[in-house]
Amino acid sequence: MNLTLLIQELVIGLTTGLIYALIALGYTMVYGIIELINFAHGDIFMIGTFICISIFGAFGITNSSSAPTGFNLVGVLVVTLLGSMVLCAVLGVVIERVAYRPLRNAPRLAPLISAIGVSLILEDIGKLWKGITIVPFPQIFPQNTYYIGPVSFSSVDILVFVVAIVLMVALQWMVTSTRIGRAMRAVAQDREAAALMGVNVNRIIAITFLIGAGLAGAAALIWGLKYGNTNFTLGFTLGLFAFTAAVLGGIGNLVGAMLGGVLIGVVEALATLIPDSTNGGFGLPHGGAPWHVAIIFIVLILILVFRPSGLLGQQTPEKV
């Protein structure tokens, strides 16, 4: 195999993986705090991409060629990023309030079904909003290609990298060093004890949803700028990968979610290198690309067999 190609795929995988990681953070935070697989999270991301398109539309940007330049571009991007984050965050909080909070003390699977219901609702809202076809996303960020040796990467990759890393560092700082972060960790560890110590549990859970959904809103913008299209089913596909990433890294663990996201992005990219074996030889029928979901999950299963709590998850001693 060609080494340049390998490194090239690694770069692609890294960019995609960072976006997965941003979404995965939402899953892992919510899971860490109320042990709920928030199936609606991927769909919040999907709604986020539509929100971005609408904000662009409000600025009169409908396709890649009507992109502004210079400071205008920066302004538009910042406004869109903030708008998407805020609206997604609000959506996340509303969902928590309506569909999950009434089920706080219900049997464990009830909120899961509720989450699935919300996911179906959001999917159909997306369908009503933008139709069932693939929706073009104005790629207004300049697409300059740079080379390090033979390996190419674009300016959008740099943008993705910067936004994702900045947000992750900010989140990590918030969780480890602020009052709210400490309260979140306390609620995650023992909800009742935290309540007894004066933490407003419902508020902290709402904030967790707020932050998680906000990150999905940010991921929505950079996804759109990078790939240039979206669709109402996008939330399901990416949500699946992001959730897998969260589990892979050790669910509830922020650094783990980032690591898992990048790992999945890389595996997905490398999977496309597997040759086609339809006419004999090594490989898989039709090449690796159609198999990438299967390969990701096989990697996941293998990792979990050897590390049952994910890469960075702690082996919690079983409580008796």
Partner: protein, 666 residues
Amino acid sequence: MAIANALVPARDTRALLIKWIVGLLVPIAVFTFIWSGEAIINNALLGLLGLLGVSEISILIQVAIFILIFYATVIALAGYLVAADSGLRGTIELWIDIAVFVLVPLFLVLSQGLIIGLALCAIIWVVYFFARRRVYKALNYTPPTPLLNLKVLDAEQRVEVKNRAIMGSFWFSAALAAVWLIVDLIFYAVGQLPTTLLVWVAIRTLILPVAGYFLGMLAGAVALRRTVAAKNGGNGGNSADGGGGPASRQSQLQVLSTTRFREEAKDLVPNDLPLRSSGAQRFYLILLVAFVLFYPVIDPFLFGFGTNGRLAGYGDAGYYVILALGLNIVVGFAGLLDLGYVAFFAIGAYTWGIFGSTQLTNVLNLAPINPHLLSALFWPMLIVAALVAALFGVLLGAPTLRLRGDYLAIVTLGFGEIVPIVFLELDAYTNGTNGIVGVHSPSFFGIDWSVVTPVPYYYLILALIAFTIFTNVRLRDSRLGRAWIAIREDEIAAASSGVNLVTTKLYAFGTGAFFSGIAGAFHTAKLGGVSPDSFSFGDSVIFLAMVVIGGIGSIPGVIVGALVVYSINQFLLAQLDTIAADPSSVLFAIKNFIITHGIQGFTFGNIRNLVFGVILVVIMIYRPEGLIPSARRRRELRHTEDEGVELGALDVVPGAPGFESEVRVE
């Protein structure tokens, strides 16, 4: 005469008789005269006498058997209810209940069709429950405690119970005969009743009361079995031999908490709410089984044209029941969250798909198997498909044994994604995206079935469901089932009590997958092919929703959940657009409003998932424990809400009398 004396009711019995005869006669009359009860009988009779000349004799015999079972059961039920009623609850209350729960569904199903009628009923019931709670609150009404002074009945009282049952059945059937006679005479006067049937009218009027008398004896026996009885009837009360004597049974009941007492009192006679007692449930079960069994022949009478289409739909609903019951083993009994259950369904479906078509022989370059032989091979292959699925269940289970909670969920989810991709991409064997077509229909003793006649499939799925329910109940009560429940409740405690975690979990995965393999093979056979699109994550989610909405771990709950979710998804939401096409319906107005005020080209098909999602969320918020929760979970929910087990979680202090029955595992 002894018989005559026995049939003259005493004063307090008279009130009960009126209560129940009126309560039951009205719905029966509605069924018989307004719906098709009378038409079914008359057609069957005329046909049997050879006067219609068109119908097949076997169908008519089936109809006759159904009618016989139906009316006999209702008459016996009347006797049981009169005998079992404690008379503590009011008559009007009962009549309102019967109106809401029997009459309303009858009329709605009659006018709107089965599925939409039942859906409307569900809405009305919810409103009714809500209103009733409000009214009770406003009136400060609390229902009476169920007979805290439940007594051991002596011989005299037992005779009394039996007599009341006989009277109930006798007078009910007499009243029915009288009403029926009058109605028939009117029909005759108007000229709608053939003269030949007058003989039948006379015979019926005479036979009904006599039949009522004997059915009443039967009902009395059913009621007597549920009384708190002296065990050794002949010994006259000196049965102080510890164990199961009446005294100990009574003290056992007294020592139970109110919650448990209510539960136990539900099974006993006398009973405050005899309609809901387990004795009455036996009669409902007979009615239900008779209805389901003879449904294909009575459907044309009840709903008119389109029997085949409806039967095909119910056949599909049937394999969802099997799938939900299978998943219930994994999720409900053993507590292992499985998000990829569709994988085993796919494996079962493709097993028969590849074998039952020319696919296998083509791939192996063999001569095709004789189609007749292949059709007969469906039966062994049904088991093979189930076993293959079970094998994969164990294979999946093996690497996941160390995983806990949601790590397990994601691995099963992954498996559910991998399997369809494998079937899709290995197109040399599975024909890829096109799926497999031309799968042979099964044959039964030389009779080839075809894809277009749904009746054989209807009976096949009935048999498979019966098998699944039977095995599920037996499994739940077996040593293995108790081990599953123990694992679900507390893995460590179970392990230290000697439950082998590895084999028990693998059995759970294997058994769960086994049933979905059966459902898969049936699916392929009924459809005559397999398409790779039918096995997505969305389907796994639907199966899980069926289990959770029905009531996790509860077998009747899961069956109801499967039927409810399937009907909502396949019948109700699919029909929204059809209904909206009718200008007189509310939906038509809603649709127009949406199109003119917002979304162009809006159809209800576009928001199917949205409506389904809203229904899921609403059901979960208002009924998180499911529609029919298992008794264990119901008890848990009524007790303290926090996790810690303290003495309060048990109703009885260990060592006190009654503790044994309290900690009974189910």
